[in-house]
Amino acid sequence: MKIVVCVKQVPDTTDVKIDPKTNTLIREGVASICNPFDEYAIEEALRIKEKLGGEVHVITMGPPQAIEVLRNALAVGADKVYLISDKAFAGSDTLATAYALSKTIEYIGGADLVICGKQAIDGDTAQVGPGIATRLGIPQLTYVSKIREIDLEKKKIIVERLLEYGREVVEAPLPALITVVKDINEPRLPSLIGIKKAAKAQIPTLTAKDINADENRIGLKGSPTWVVKVFTPEARGGGGEILKGELNEVVPLLVTKLMETKFIK
């Protein structure tokens, strides 16, 4: 079983600053971490490997310093890691990034299962995982909170998806791509021995050419997204009313109000 995990290095804060001119994230001077959701993705891959055997490959696209997240992946037990880094990727939006990652997965020989975090905490788009699946032509199962079963013989996977209104159980053929939520596991810490190995490892860098990327589909050229403005919407004022009092008083009041607004008849 070969599992490829896609991870992203992100600024270590949920309170990132935006450059007012370009409307993109200001990354200078902010410490970097592995996108938290991606740590769950790595952990799930390791658990599957421990159960079913196989290999875990971790890939990241980013500047040279993104190598740090790959070292951490090696320290916890990833078998192979690749840094995809090239000036030609600069300015890639989610479309171009998903394309580059899918080309990388093809370049390293494909995967039985691709795992991503549900979204990155800097951009919060949740688009790259599904984008990769689309380009690879494999099914996507997003917001996975549990893997119920992986059947290597019948080549299928059954998962639970965590949705707003409940859980959904879905089966899909392999290869497939899943994106995971935090409920799925508790990521492990690396051991000192793992760290020692990872710190010494030579990590290969792949360029746009290496992965046979079409130069018109990466970087600014391949990125049709225009960020007009990034902002936190104002909290909606007013609205809502909280009824106070004993149950036997509030319930009739609620019913009256609902009838007034014609929600119930």
Binding site: R71, P190, S191, L192, I193, I195, K196, A199, K200
Partner: protein, 389 residues
């Protein structure tokens, strides 16, 4: 480039990992363990799983062989959150593992180190006696060779990690005869817990390190095979002094990490707490305290890392380790004091971690050689007349 303050990639990753562990797994339970005087088997095992026992031990015995500075960084990061767990780790390594690793023969190393390095077992270092504290050469515990056995009689006190369910062996310093100059011949002997005649009693009611295990040990005609001698007969005092040189680095690391933790709590609180309409940290008298704390911590880190560097590079480091131990523990004292002061009344409440720092600090001025003893060591190294006693 002769002077280099950069940590290696490995050391930076290690610091991050230990910090994560301490914040996620120790911080939530530290206060309760302290309150209940409860030794945590779980956290000890976790520290073992992460490879924090035996960082200076070679891989063939189950260590990770990442060097002494990495070990110091690990202790620092645990102590930043909790002194008790740092004590379990530092004593387990510096006093438990290290004498066996450095002075044990192949068989002894094979027998004990693998379990000690995974945190499955703990070894303790039995030096202090009721009547031999700072004057550790005045041990009265005796070991007499009778046939193929050492027969040990005497007692030890304040021995860290000696009475838990996973305490497997104690390195006991005992008088094994008289030297030619008329002084006592001291040797170290490995005494497995559970040996008939080896009686252990857990000590309770400590002000400091309440979740760390401390024991009183009694030896009553306790017989162990003569092969349990550690190193050569008569080498006990030298082994003990060398063990303490290394141990002092880890005590200094506990002080440095503790000071760092107390400082961070104080800085945070000084930004949040408002009085007279302003954050208290904006009053100059408080800002200056924080500036002093930050400066002293930086200085402590410099002397400790230098002493550790000397140790790692096999240079003499006894003077510098005494300086680091003395300076860092006394520095932690000042920092913890300021940190509580900045917290006002809340700093005296157990809910606030700074309260634990204030108590735990005191042990570091006393254990593994009091501040006075460190000054004796330093004075001798700088060549004062006489023996500074």
């Amino acid at each position: 480039m002769a002077l280099d303050f950069d940590l290696t990639e490995e050391q930076q990753m290690l610091r991050k990992m230990v910090r994560n562990f301490a914040e996620k797994e120790i911080a939530p339970v530290a206060q309760e363990l302290d309150e209940k005087e409860e030794f945590s088997y779980h956290l000890t095992r976790r520290m073992g799983e992460l490879g924090l026992f035996g960082p200076f031990v070679s891989e063939e015995y189950g260590g990770s062989n990442v060097g002494y500075l990495s070990y110091i960084i690990a202790v620092e990061e645990i102590a930043r959150i909790d002194g008790s767990q740092a004590a379990t780790l530092a004593a387990g390594n510096s006093l438990g593992i290290s004498p066996i690793y450095y002075y044990g023969n192949e068989e002894q190393k094979q027998q004990w180190l693998p379990d000690l390095c995974t945190g499955k077992a703990l070894a303790s270092f039995g030096l202090t006696e009721p009547n031999a504290g700072s004057d550790a050469g005045a041990s009265r515990t005796t070991a007499v060779l009778e046939g193929d056995y050492w027969v040990i009689n005497g007692s030890k006190i304040f021995i860290t990690n000696s009475t838990t369910d996973i305490s497997k062996v104690c390195v006991v310093q005992a008088v094994t005869g008289k030297r030619e100059d008329g002084r006592n011949e001291l040797s170290c002997i490995l005494v497995p817990n559970g040996t008939p005649g080896f009686i252990t009693k857990t000590m309770h009611g400590k002000m400091v390190w309440r979740a760390s295990n401390t024991g009183e040990l009694y030896f009553q005609d306790c017989k162990v095979p003569k092969e349990n001698l550690l190193g050569r007969r008569g080498d006990g005092f030298r082994q003990m002094l060398a063990t303490l040189d290394g141990g002092r680095l880890s005590i200094a690391a506990m002080a440095l990490g503790g000071a760092q933790g107390a400082f961070e709590l104080a800085l945070k609180y000084s930004k949040e707490r408002e009085q007279f309409g302003r954050p208290i940290g904006s009053f100059q008298v408080n800002a200056f305290k924080l500036a002093d704390m930050a400066t002293e911590i930086e200085l402590g880190r410099l002397i400790l890392y230098k002493a550790t560097w000397l140790c790692e590079n096999h240079r003499p480091f006894s003077k510098e380790s005494a300086m680091a131990k003395m300076f860092c523990s006394e520095m932690y004292h000042r920092v913890a004091n300021h940190a509580v002061q900045l917290h006002g009344g809340y700093g005296l409440m157990k809910e606030y971690a700074v309260e634990r720092h204030y108590r735990n600090q005191k042990l570091l001025d006393i254990g593994e050689g009091t501040s006075e003893v460190q000054r004796i060591v330093i004075a001798r190294h700088i060549g004062v007349p006489g023996r500074a006693l």
